[in-house]
Structure formats: C-alpha cells, structure tokens
C-alpha cells in the first residue's frame, strides 16, 4: 500500500519541479533533474520501502531474525559479502548459484535449492537487507480485540434487565405505599381510639380502583395503547426467538482476528472459507489452511497476544516450532458457531456465492473490521459503503425467514452468461402471457423463479 502511494506521489513532485524549472537554465535543469531522480530513487528504495518489499517478496517464507520456512535474513548480506559472493545473483537465480558451487550457497543447509528466483533489482534487495538488518522486535503491546463477551451468552439483553428492575421497583413502590396506608390507619386508630372497619379502610387496590373509576376514559385509552404496544413488541420479539442477536460475539478457543487477515492483509474470504463457492457450507478453515501461512508467521503483528494465539494453531496442527516439523499429535479446534441454521432449513452457500453472485458482506457484514466472527445486523449492513460491491438493502432482522424471503423478492437472478437460464428462458417464451408478466422489467426476481416456494429451502 505504502509503496503504491509513493509511486503515485512521484509524478506530482515531478510536475512541481517542472513548474519550478521553467525559470532555470537547461544545463542546470538537467543537473537538477538527475540529482532529483537519483535522490528519488534512493529515497524510494530506502528503509521505509524495505519493509514493504520484504512483505511483498520475502515474508511468506522468511523472517528478519528467526528461521521460518527459510532462514532468518538478518545479517545474510554481510555473510555473503564476507565470503566474497554475489548475493544478488543468488536472489535472482538460487539454483544456478547452488549448481555453480558458490560457497555461501552451499553453506545454506536450509532447504537447499528450495527457494525460487525472485525478480527484484539490486537496489530493492539492498532496501530489503537494510530493513531486516535494522529490524528490532516490536515493543509488545497487548491490544487484542476488546469487544469479546464471555462464551455463548447474549450481549444485548438490557431491555429484559430494565424490565425486571422496573418491575421490582414498581412492586416496592406499591408495597411501601401499602405499608404507609397501614401505618396511617394504625396511627389513626391509636389517636382516635376507635377501630376502623376493615372494609372502610382504604387499601392501595381500592385507591387505584377508585382512581381508575373516576378516570375511565383515560384508563381505557391508556390500556388500549399499552395492550397494542405489548402485543406489537411482544410479537416482534417472539419472531426473533432462536435468532441470534446482532453483535453476538462469543469467546472463541482462538482469538482470531479478521481485521488483520481480511483487513490489513487483504486475504480473500474464500482463501480460508474455500468451500463457499462449491458447497452448502462456507466451511470453517481447517487447520492445514491456517498452516499455509502460519508455518512461517509465528508472531502477531503487535504483541504477545497474537503470538500466543498463533501458538494455539501450532498446537492444534501438532507443529513443533523448534524442529519445524509436524509431530502428528493433532487436536481439533472447537469453534463456537455464531450463525445457526435450524435443521429444517436448507441453505447453500454456493447457490448464493457462485450462482447468485451475492457479496459475502451482504449477510456477514464488514468482516474486515471484526475480531472473531460475530453476527451483524440488517441496519449495519445497509449502512455499509463498500467500493465496487453491491449490497442489497433489507429491513427484516438478520437470519429470520422474513429476511430470507425479502431478499428473494428483491434480488435479481443472475441470468447472464448462464446456459442453464438460457434454456429456461427458451421454454418460458412459449407461454407469451407469462413471459410478459415475468419479463416486464427485463429482470427476473428470485421469487418469480420459485424462490418463495417452500421446497426450495425446506425438505
């Protein structure tokens, strides 16, 4: 990213210089330009850039100070130079150097000949070496995702809590009120010396009844409104029973961070969830997929926490970091599901991802900002602004049937370039009336294709 931006910046600087140069003589101009050019190049390929180049070209196998898939790079250049060998030639074509019997090449006991040639300039190589030679382990700061909630409980049950507190308070008020009344009559009895008949005693209930009787209209209107509100919200809440609420983010065995993987490192969703395009399940990444990268990457970007979590992957995979070998003792990772589909619903990821072309974000939200997997909400998704991605805006709560069929009534079937739909289209043409009604807008909604039929999802 950084590297790209700088490249973009270059012409601007040049332009400015051109503007300045109009006042200068050609000779001076040439000199100025050449200095500027070299300065720019050296500036470009200096330490700042070394990091990016390292990440881009080397980091999948090498680490600055630790052996990974390949050996640590710190001090490598010095070692080669001490032997009088050409490290640049090695980078560009390791096998040749190895075959030629170059001393430093032979000295590498680490997967001899395992590295493929990397096409970078000597300057870029220098920048990388400068970066790794000056690299120091980062200061450890513990800054893992903080919005974690204890495993498997609901996080937004506050309304229920307030309801209970309110209930208790109103009960207390009524109770105190009653006690006050009792005391009042007890006092009155003592003062007046005559007993007040129980029937004559004003109780709380009687008082409220009396008040209600006097304000019949108000009470009936209020009662009606209250009933409506209770029924409406009650029904609304009941509809969501069994639907996991927005923000549900249980504690997971590994504090996986989506924002680092999908966000910072821009790993495609389907690299890890690779069955989403092929199967009904998107698939939780299997440990061997994690190990594709984490064989080499064993430290978090900023702190001990990440390193600790990555160690859990190594433990699950049975990977011995010291020996850089698999022990064969594996331990599956037991993730907590955040989305749960009832048994009587059939949902197929590949239908939506591959055939329908629905963006992952349309159901899962902006995963690039997440820590561990969590549930997004309809509103949150509607407010997402994603470049070049079309989000279908919906209103019903996420993962309810209403939400499913709302989308089936909104989304268009992606019929272009699909011979299956071409065939169906040909058949539809024979029924002119139906053809007209369906194809009026030139588009076919999922519903028009039977997307609201029970047996499309329930069998």
């Amino acid at each position: 990213m950084l590297h790209l931006l700088q490249l973009l910046d270059v012409p601007e600087i040049l332009n400015m210089n051109v503007f300045l140069s109009r006042k200068l003589k050609t000779k001076e101009l040439t000199l100025y330009f050449s200095i500027l050019f070299f300065a720019l190049i050296s500036f470009n390929a200096s330490a700042q850039d070394g990091k990016a180049l390292f990440k881009q070209n080397c980091a999948s196998c090498h680490q600055p100070a630790k052996d990974g898939t390949g050996p640590a790079l710190k001090g490598a250049k010095a070692k080669w130079e001490a032997n009088g060998d050409d490290i640049y030639a090695w980078i560009k074509n390791p096998q040749a150097q190895y075959d030629n019997g170059v001393k430093s090449a032979l000295a590498i006991q680490y997967m001899p000949g395992g590295m493929a040639g990397i096409n970078i300039s000597n300057e870029e190589a220098d920048a990388i070496f400068e970066y790794v030679d000056t690299w120091e382990p980062p200061v450890k700061i513990d800054d893992g995702p903080k919005d974690l909630v204890e495993g498997g409980t609901e996080s937004n049950n506050t309304w229920l809590m307030w309801l209970i507190i309110g209930g208790i308070l109103s009960m207390l008020i009524v109770a105190f009120w009653g006690v006050r009344k009792q005391l009042y009559y007890a006092l009155k009895e003592k003062e007046d010396g005559e007993e007040v008949e129980e029937e004559d005693q004003e109780t709380v209930g009687k008082e409220i009844k009396g008040w209600a009787g006097r304000n019949m209209k108000l009470v009936s209107v209020l009662g009606f409104i209250l009933t409506c509100v209770v029924v409406y919200y009650g029904a609304e809440e009941l509809y969501k029973v069994g639907v996991i609420p927005e923000g549900y983010n249980p504690e997971q065995p590994i504090e996986f961070n989506h924002s680092i993987h999908a966000g910072t490192n821009e790993i495609d969703c389907q690299y890890c969830h690779n069955s989403a395009s092929k199967s009904k399940h998107a698939g939780i990444p299997t440990v061997n997929v994690c190990m594709n990268c984490h064989k080499g990457i064993e430290e978090g970007p900023s702190g001990e926490k990440g390193t600790k979590e990555i160690a859990k992957i190594h433990a699950a995979a049975g990977y011995d970091l010291d020996k850089r070998a698999y022990t064969g003792k594996t331990e599956p990772i037991k993730w907590v599901k955040v989305h749960n589909m009832p048994d009587h619903v059939y949902f197929n990821h590949s239908q939506h991802v591959t055939v329908g072309g629905i963006e992952c974000e349309n159901c899962h939200g902006d995963v690039k900002t997440y820590g561990t997997g969590k549930v997004s909400g309809t509103e949150t998704i509607n407010n997402l602004k994603l470049e070049g991605k079309k989000i279908i805006k919906l209103t019903k709560p996420l993962m309810t049937m209403g939400w499913c069929i709302e989308c089936h009534n909104t989304a268009d079937v992606q019929t272009t370039d699909n011979k299956y739909y071409d065939d169906i289209h040909e058949r539809l043409k024979s029924d002119k009336e139906l053809y007209k009604s369906v194809m009026e807008d030139g588009k076919v909604k999922v519903k028009e294709f039977g997307g609201w039929e029970c047996s499309k999802c329930h069998y």
């Binding site: 009904k280 995979a317 594996t330 907590v336 048994d343 699909n418 739909y421 139906l434 329930h458």
Partner: protein
C-alpha cells in the same frame, strides 16, 4: 369382454370382512386413547382441580418461553487436516462391489464427510448393470450396527491383536508339529486374491493336514454336481436370460434370490417390454409364491417333491423318451404340456432352470436344456461363473469330524455354521471342544461365541477385495471409510499367520498391495469403474460353447427323483428366501425387517405359508388385521420342530407349507443387534421368565437335512394347531382404495400388439349434458380449480412407472428409507397401520371370474353362483404397483390444509413443509392415493423405538442423510420426489453453466431399481435426446401411459405404464 378380473390385496378385501370394512373407514385406524384416559378411576380421585391446572399451564408456558429465549451454544469442529478429496457438504461417490456369499453386484457408495450413507447399483459398469437387491441397498446400515465387535476376542474376552496373533501362531505351530488336521471353512469367496491367500495359508502349514472346505449355507451343489456328471465341469454356467424367448423355471426364484439374480433380472426384463417385436414367455412351477412366480405369465403350483417330475415330464414331452425309473403322473404331464410346446417351438432360445438342490433333478434339467440346444445360446458353459463352489458332501464330512472332535484347528470365514447347519447345536458342541478355533465374524454370533478366538473382519465397506463372478469379469471392492473399530481384514489375518505380512492397524495396506500386485492392467481405471470385463476371446475355451457332449446318467437321476417323489405325509415343507432377510446375515437390519415381503406384505416376521383350503381345514385364521391375529402352529420336520404363526398365502400349493430362512437369529441371546429380537407394544423386547429375548421367527435352517450328501431345503412336515393367537404386522390391508377399480390396467400381448389403445388403455370420459344432449368429455377437461402453470414453464418433474418391468423386489423401498431418513416404526406400530414408508409396493392379486359371471352381470340374471367358481386364492395372478405421492397438479391435499403447509411448486411438485404443518391430518384424509404419513411419535427420541430405530443408536445416526430434515412428532410427511436431489442437480447445472442432461437427476427409488421400471425426469424437456424430448416425456406420451384413479381428476405427475402379460388370451 368375456372375462372380468377383480383385484384384491388380501382376502380381507375380496370378501369384505367386517374388520376390514371398519378399518377402511378410518384413515388412521387408532383412536386417541381419550376414553381410556377419562375412564381411569384414579383420575377422578386426583386433587388437581381446574384452577390448579390453569396455574400449572400458565407457569409452563412462561417457563418454556423464557427457556427458549436463550441462544444455544453450538460448536463447529473443522478438520485438522482436511483430506484433499473431501469438501464438507459435498458427497463423494466410490465404486465398489458387494458380495456376501449370496448377493453379488457392482455398486456405487455415496459418502458424506467420509461416512457412507447410500448405496446404489453401478449402472455403467459391472455384470449386474446396476441391479440391486434390498439387502445390498440396506447393507450400508449394517456398517453402523452397534453390536459389531470392536476388537479381537480370546475366549470371549477382549484381547489385543498382538496377543491373539501370537497365541494363534503358537497353537498352529503345535498342530503342524504333530501333523494335525487344519480346516478352513469359508463360503464361496468369488475372490481370486482371497483364494490365493487361503492357498498360501494352507501351504504355510506344511506338515499338517490342511484343507479349505467351501460351505454355502444356501447350497447349489446339486447344480454343480449335475454339471460335473453331464459335462465334466463342476460349475454354475452363465445363464443368458436376455437370449431366452421361453423361460421355464422349476422353483428357481431367479429374479431375486437364485445365484446371480442381479445379472439375470436385467436380462429377463429386457425381453418383457411389449414394445419389442417379441416378448419372452415365462412359466413358473413352484410351491410358495415367490417374487419370480408372481411375475410369471403362467404359474403352476406344485409340490416340492414334484420338481423332479416336472423336469421328467418336460423331458418326455420334448424328447419323447422317458427318464428311466420315473413314472410321471398324467396330471403333471398335462400341466407341462403347454410349456413344453413353447420350449420346443423356440429351440435355441429356450431356457429351463431349476431351484432344486437335488442333482438328479438338475441332471434331467440339463438333459432338457441339451435337447433344446440351450447350451451355447441361453446357457454359456464356456464362461462359467465362480459361484457355488461349495461341496455338500465335503461339508457333511467336516461337520462329522468337528462333531467327533477330529479337527485340531478350524478357521471359520464368511459363514455361520452353528446357525445355518441342519444340526447347528451338535456342531457348536463339537466346536467348543476343538483345541484351536478361530472365527472372523464381525459379531459375537451363534458360531463365533463358541470359538477360542474371534478376529473380527472389517465390514465390506471398510475393505479392499477383488471378485471374479464369472471367468470373464473382474471387479474390485474399495473401502469407502476407514475401519470404525480395531478390526482387521480376514485376508490380512491369514497372511499374518502365514508369516507373509505384518499388522498395520487401521492404515493397513496389506490387502490393497496384494490385490494390486496380482492385477495386470490399468489399476486406477478398474478402481474407478469398479470392474472390468474381458473379451470372451480371453477365455481359455474360445469356442463359446466349451461343452463336452451331454453325458449325464439319467438312470441315476431317475432313481433320485423317484425316491423323492415317494415322500408321503400331511404336508410337504419348503424352505425359501425372502427378499429382505435372505439367509439371515442382516437379520439385525431394521430397514430389511420392516420391508414388507413382496408377496405376503408381512413385516418383522417369519411364518408358515399355507393354502386357504389347508388353513380352513385345520382351523387357522386366514384374515389378518390390527385386531385379527394369526394362529400359531407347531411344525415338525425330521424330528425337529418350530412354533410359527400360519399365514394364508394365495397361490400356495395345497398340501405344502413354506418357511422363510434367515429368521430366528441369536438363538442363544448372542449380541448381534437389538433389532434382531422381537418387540411388543411400547417397543420393549419380549422376554421369557429367564429374561431371554424372544427371537423373530424360527430358524428354518434347522429343518434342512443332508440327504445322500446333498443339502435338502424341502421335506415332509407334520403340523399341529396350537390354537394360540399371535399378532402379525401385515400391510396388505393398509391404505386401500375404497373399492375403486381404476388402479390396475393390464392386457395381453396379443391385444396390445393389435394396437387399439381403446381396448387396453381407454381414456376416461365423463358424460355431460350440453344443449340437451349427452356429450362425453375427457377427464382432463374438467377442472375444479385453476390449473397450475406447469406446462412449458421451467421444469416439470415427473415419473413413469412401467408395471411390466416392476418385479416387486422392494429395493426402492429400502433406498427411499435410506435417502429420506424415513423412520423405522417397529412391528407394533405397523400392526396398527402406522407404517411410515413414503413408497410402498401395492401387490394386487387378481382372479378371473368366468364367463358365467360376466354373462350374469350383463343380463342381470341370477344363474350366477359363487360356489361354481374356482377358488380365487388357488392361483391368482399378481400385479406389483409402486405407490407414492402422485404429485397431483390438482392435489386434493393442498386445498384442505388450513395452514398451507402443503403447496404446489411451479415445477409440478407437491411440497410438504414440516415446519409449517400443525398436524390436522386433513390432507391424509383427503388423499385418494393414501400416501401421506403422520409422525405419531418423535421416532428418533421416543423410548418405545429405542430397540430398532437406527436414529436412536449412536452409530446408527451416522447413516442419516444430512440434506433431509429428520421429522419430529406431529407433522405429516410423504414422498418429496427426492427434492434434495432435484435441487442439487439444478445447482450443479447452474454452477457449470449448462442445461440439465436427461437422466442426470435421479430419485432414490429410480436409481436403485434393478429393472429401470421407474423413469424420472423433466416432462417439460423437449430438446433432449435429439429433440425427441426427455425419456419421461416420451413415456408419458406413450400408448401405455395412464394415471391411477384418473377419474378423480387429480392430474398426477406420476404416470404408470399398462402391464402387458404374454398370455394367449386375445
């Protein structure tokens, strides 16, 4: 029309017995037990009053609501190392081969996340052309039988492989040192590698008297012996049913249970299509009505002792000469006359087969076939099968040796002699005393519990194996799952004890390497395809016939037959195999136990089949229902007796009774699976005073006997009526059609070939009055509702069932069970009429009522009398009709559902939505086809099903199809036309951007049908098959296509094809 046919499922229906009429009035025969509950005296005394009740209820509702508010924590556990070829949620298919000593076939195994969940025939490769039997389809459940042994056993105690191996090797060394007797008792392995391994094992015991003895519990050694005598080759030849224009079967159930039935059935059905120029004619002579007999054009009931006489009669008719020593009664000569004429007329395209294990009868059959020039045409001796290697005489010797304790080491592989031998108890007593006895059984069963060691074999779905069913065919069985338990393949054990291999646990490649090293050719291809067929030129005898001239000794044969024919007694008994249970290896498989027998429609039981006249003469109940039980009889054969209920079977030869083999497993309470024992009301096992569980039926193998070194499956029986009632779960009176007659349509080949559709498949018309005149209109023109727009739009899924091809075997029912998670409900629930089969096979008997009646009906005269008629039950003809949801375009069920839980899709499917159903059952009441099923219980959890419902077993749950909902209590269910397959088929096409190819999507029933009687496809597909339209579209437009109950106007998407019999009637 000179003859009127009546169709009936059972005599309960034919004679309209009182209980039958009552039961037909109720779609759901059981009332709710409200009366019982209210009549409970304690109820009146209980202190709960109405107010309390309301309080409890209010609290429960509140508590339930609150409890439901919490989201459950569900764990998801991905693979650590995902196998490369597995994608969670996507099925993998593996080709393999099934062989259990009885059934053979190339199969395809469907696995999900590594679990085998479905088996179907391999329609592309293999000699069975995709044909299966119910046992093959159901065998996937046997993999998950919780009673399987999980480790080797020594003296019935858990042991480890190393100790067992060491002990066996040591004991073997001792036997070798003293030159003792070692015997390996196996079934016919069919496997060249296994045979080689056994030979290596025997060879490694130099010094000892070691030998392999092949024992086939269902013996065919009569055939091999006869062929040895007749042609010098002790083999079972290849029978080419596809070349036979006339087939005469003398008690051979060759469509489902006889030798390579999966091979024969496809050849047979190929010539039963009336659209062909000719249609084969099939005569069947038998005692008990079998599946094959029910499909015959002419079926003649005979006694078992007459089998030889029928063969001799045929010989006499055809050659003119008689079999020496046999005098054929005139009655039999008459009965065989027509068959003989047909055979003679089709010389060279005729085939006579016999089910008898008597070598004499088989020799005469050989002589008949020889006279008909069948060898080289319908019978191929040049390409013999490797079946039936068993030699009864050798087995009898071995049994005697074991009983006398003369064997030092006995290895028992693939057979269960203590159960299947005539004198299993005596054998068991001898077996116990042997110094070394090893069983490879997967269970601690009747035999293995008496062995010193059990070294459990892998299940066949966990094993590598190879097979050579015929000389020109080679097949490979590959595992579809890693061994579930610490078991080892028997072949590996033999190699280990021969010192030629070492144990490698679950990752063992011993058998794989062995087979691969012996195979020459493209190994990957043969594993992928499952089999390879070599050209006939590769056979040693390229002449094709490969037969030395017939040299059978008819004299000896005649004396055999004459001896057998002399049998005298009240009854003759024949032991036969049923399609579900077969020889009893899968007796603990609840799917197969619950499969109604194709003919009797009885589930979960073994019984004595008897003719109506015999039943009535001896006072046995002949009408069965929920409240009308069967009567128990005691049958005595060869001094051994069984107590079994008597079942009146139409078509049974008078004076004979039949008993199915394979029942009465677990005689000494062995743990072979809970489903193998009898359950009662509320699902508990029936136990005696000692706590012993009651068996299902009795072991009919104990009634067999060795006669002259031949295992006989028939004999003379004495019956005694015990006058004891016994509840019987028979589905023949369930789901009747209320006397409607437009169900079966059948005709004769002659009428069909004449081509006038109105004679055999007339359109149903209704009379209307228009402008003062009566006008007849086709039923399609009457609509109560608006039509669903299904024509031309998108897909319209439909099915066509050819009644000519359907043999009624029942594979489809088991396949449907497997694919759709249909619950097993057990005997008691079935007895109450609550079977859950989405697909059932209606078996209609039909009897011709003579011209007298036809005339009487036409003239309304009274000269007609029932008394003058033949007894309909003597020999009725049979029609098998697979019946499932008809997916009506005008579905009566859809209009009555109050909650719209059953609706119509624009693809023509009648959809059932479980989550919307509230269980009013209106739909089932309104369904004219009676195909809707109600979940009376939560079958996967209710304790009354814990002894047999596979979903209640930890391992049994593994077989559930993850794409289909497991239904809960209180909802309706019915055939969905495997909508999960339709949906996934469409999705595959969409993903690959292509149209759906015809035949690509298959329902479970269609894919398992051995005869391709069921065609499934898209009725709207006009472009497939070079613009001729999909196969289903062509069939739906054919002259034979009709709808069942067409007059109701339901307009189903399921078509039936008129049955055409090759009878002489014009």
């Amino acid at each position: 029309m000179s003859k009127v046919k009546t169709y009936w499922k059972g005599i309960e229906e034919r004679e309209q017995s009182a209980s039958f009429i009552e039961s037909t009035k109720n779609e759901f025969p059981q009332d709710l037990p409200a009366q019982e509950f209210l009549a409970d005296e304690q109820l009146a005394e209980s202190s709960t009053n109405r107010r309390d009740f309301l309080k409890f209820m209010g609290f429960s509702v509140a508590a339930a609501t609150l409890a439901a508010c919490e989201s459950p924590v569900v764990k998801a556990i991905p693979y650590v190392n995902k196998p490369e070829d597995i994608t969670p949620g996507v099925a993998n298919w593996y080709s393999s081969t099934y062989w259990d000593g009885n059934d053979y076939g190339s199969i395809l195994v469907k696995t999900r996340e590594g679990r085998p969940i479905f088996i179907k025939g391999n329609k592309s490769f293999g000699i069975n052309n995709g044909a299966t039997t119910p046992r093959m389809v159901g065998s996937v459940l046997s993999l998950y039988n919780g009673a399987r042994l999980q480790m080797p056993m020594a003296a019935n105690k858990k042991a480890t492989w190393s100790t067992v191996d060491n002990s066996i090797k040591k004991a073997l060394a001792e036997v070798v040192a003293k030159g003792g007797k070692v015997r390996v008792m196996t079934n016919t392995t069919l496997s060249p590698s296994t045979d080689a391994i056994l030979n290596e094992f025997v060879g490694s015991l130099a010094g000892a008297d070691a030998k392999v003895v092949t024992y086939d519990p269902i013996s065919f050694s009569g055939i091999t012996k006869a062929n040895q005598e007749s042609f010098g080759k002790a083999v079972v030849p290849t029978y080419n049913f596809d070349k036979a224009k006339v087939i005469v079967s003398i008690a051979a159930d060759f469509l489902t249970n006889w030798l390579l039935s999966t091979d024969y059935v496809t050849g047979y059905v190929a010539n039963r299509k009336p659209e062909n120029a000719w249609m084969s004619k099939h005569f069947q002579y038998e005692s008990v009505m079998t599946t094959t007999g029910s499909n015959a054009d002419v079926r003649v009931p005979i006694k078992p002792s007459e089998e030889g006489l029928v063969a001799a009669a045929l010989y006499k008719h055809i050659t003119g000469g008689s079999v020496p020593g046999v005098s054929v009664p005139q009655e039999i000569m008459d009965k065989t006359k027509m068959a003989a004429q047909e055979l003679k007329a089709n010389k060279g395209a005729a085939l006579v087969v016999g089910g008898s294990n008597c070598s004499g009868t088989q020799t005469v059959i050989n002589a008949v076939n020889n006279a008909l020039s069948s060898y080289g045409s319908t019978i191929d001796m040049g390409n013999p099968t490797n079946l039936a290697k068993g030699n009864d005489a050798e087995v009898e010797t071995l049994v005697k040796e074991v009983e006398a304790g003369q064997v030092d080491a006995l290895f028992i592989y693939g057979v269960n002699p203590c159960y299947t031998l005539p004198n299993g108890d005596k054998f068991a007593a001898g077996l116990k005393k042997l110094p070394l006895s090893v069983s490879f059984s997967q269970y601690a069963d009747e035999t293995s519990t008496h062995c010193k060691f059990i070294t459990p074999d892998n299940h066949y779905l966990e094993s590598w194996n190879d097979f050579a069913p015929t000389a020109s065919h080679y097949a490979v069985a590959q595992p579809a799952i890693r061994p579930l338990y610490d078991t080892a393949q028997a072949q590996e054990s033999f190699l280990v004890w021969s010192g030629k291999a070492s144990r490698a646990g679950k990752n063992s490649r011993v058998m794989y390497d062995y087979i691969k090293s012996r195979f020459t050719g493209d190994w990957n291809l043969v594993v992928h395809n499952g089999s390879v067929t070599y050209p006939s030129s590769s056979l040693g005898d390229a002449s094709g016939a490969g037969v030395s001239p017939f040299s059978g000794n008819l004299g000896t044969a005649g004396s055999h037959i004459a001896k057998k024919a002399k049998t005298a007694g009240d009854f003759e008994v024949i032991m036969y195999q049923k399609n579900g249970i077969g020889d009893g290896q899968q007796a603990a498989n609840p799917w197969l136990q619950e499969l109604p027998d194709p003919i009797t429609k009885v589930t979960w039981d073994n019984y004595i089949t008897m003719s109506r006249k015999d039943c009535e003469a001896n006072g046995y109940n002949i009408k069965y229902g929920e409240k009308s039980p069967a009567t128990v009889a005691k049958i005595e054969v060869n001094g051994k007796s069984l107590e079994l209920p008597v079942f009146m079977l139409p078509g049974q030869k008078q004076g004979t009774v039949g008993i199915a083999l394979g029942y009465g497993r677990g005689g000494n309470q062995e743990n072979i699976g809970d489903s193998a024992y009898q359950t009662q009301e509320y699902g508990t096992h029936i136990t005696d005073e000692n706590g012993n569980k009651q068996l299902i039926g009795g072991n009919a193998f104990s009634l067999t006997q060795f006669v002259n070194g031949e295992l006989m499956f028939s004999g003379v029986a004495k019956l005694e009526n015990l006058n004891r009632e016994y509840p019987i779960a028979c589905t023949q009176t369930h789901h009747t059609f209320m006397g409607r007659t437009s169900i079966v349509r059948e005709t004769s080949f002659g009428v069909f070939k004449a081509g006038d559709k109105s004679n055999f498949n007339p359109a149903h018309q209704l009379s209307t009055h228009e402008k003062g005149r009566t006008v007849k209109k086709d039923i399609q023109e009457f609509d109560l509702w608006d039509s669903h727009p299904v024509e031309n739009v998108g897909h319209r899924w439909g099915m066509s069932i050819d009644l000519n091809s359907c043999i009624g075997c029942g594979s489809c029912i088991v396949a449907c069970h497997t694919e759709n998670n249909v619950p097993v409900v057990g005997k008691d629930e079935i007895r109450r009429g609550r079977d859950m089969h989405w697909l059932r096979l209606d078996r209609y008997f039909s009897s011709e009522e003579d011209e007298v009646r036809a005339k009487a009906l036409a003239n309304h005269t009274k000269e007609f009398s029932y008394a003058k008629l033949e007894v309909a039950e003597d020999n009725p003809s049979v029609v098998h009709i697979p019946m499932m949801c008809q997916h009506c375009n005008h579905a009566p069920c859809e209009t009555v559902c109050p909650v719209a839980a059953t609706t119509h899709s624009n693809e023509g499917l009648n959809q059932m939505t479980y989550n919307r159903c509230i269980g009013t059952r209106y739909c089932a009441n309104n369904c004219p086809y009676k195909v809707r099923r109600f979940n009376w219980f939560n079958y996967p959890t209710n304790s009354r099903f814990e002894n047999f419902n596979p979903s209640q077993f930890d391992m049994g749950r593994m077989v559930l199809n993850p794409d289909v909902t497991v239904r809960s209590r209180g909802v309706m269910e019915k055939c969905s036309m495997c909508v999960q397959q339709i949906q996934s088929g469409k999705l595959e096409a969409k993903k690959e951007s292509r149209t759906i190819t015809d035949g690509e999507i298959q329902t479970a029933c269609a894919s398992s049908c051995p005869t391709d009687a069921i065609t499934f496809g898209d009725l709207n597909d006009k472009t497939s098959n070079e613009n001729k339209g999909s196969k289903i579209r062509q069939e739906s437009e054919g002259v034979r296509a009709y709808h069942i109950l067409e007059e109701v106007g339901t307009q189903p998407n399921i078509y039936y094809q008129v049955k055409v019999r090759n009878t002489n009637e014009a």
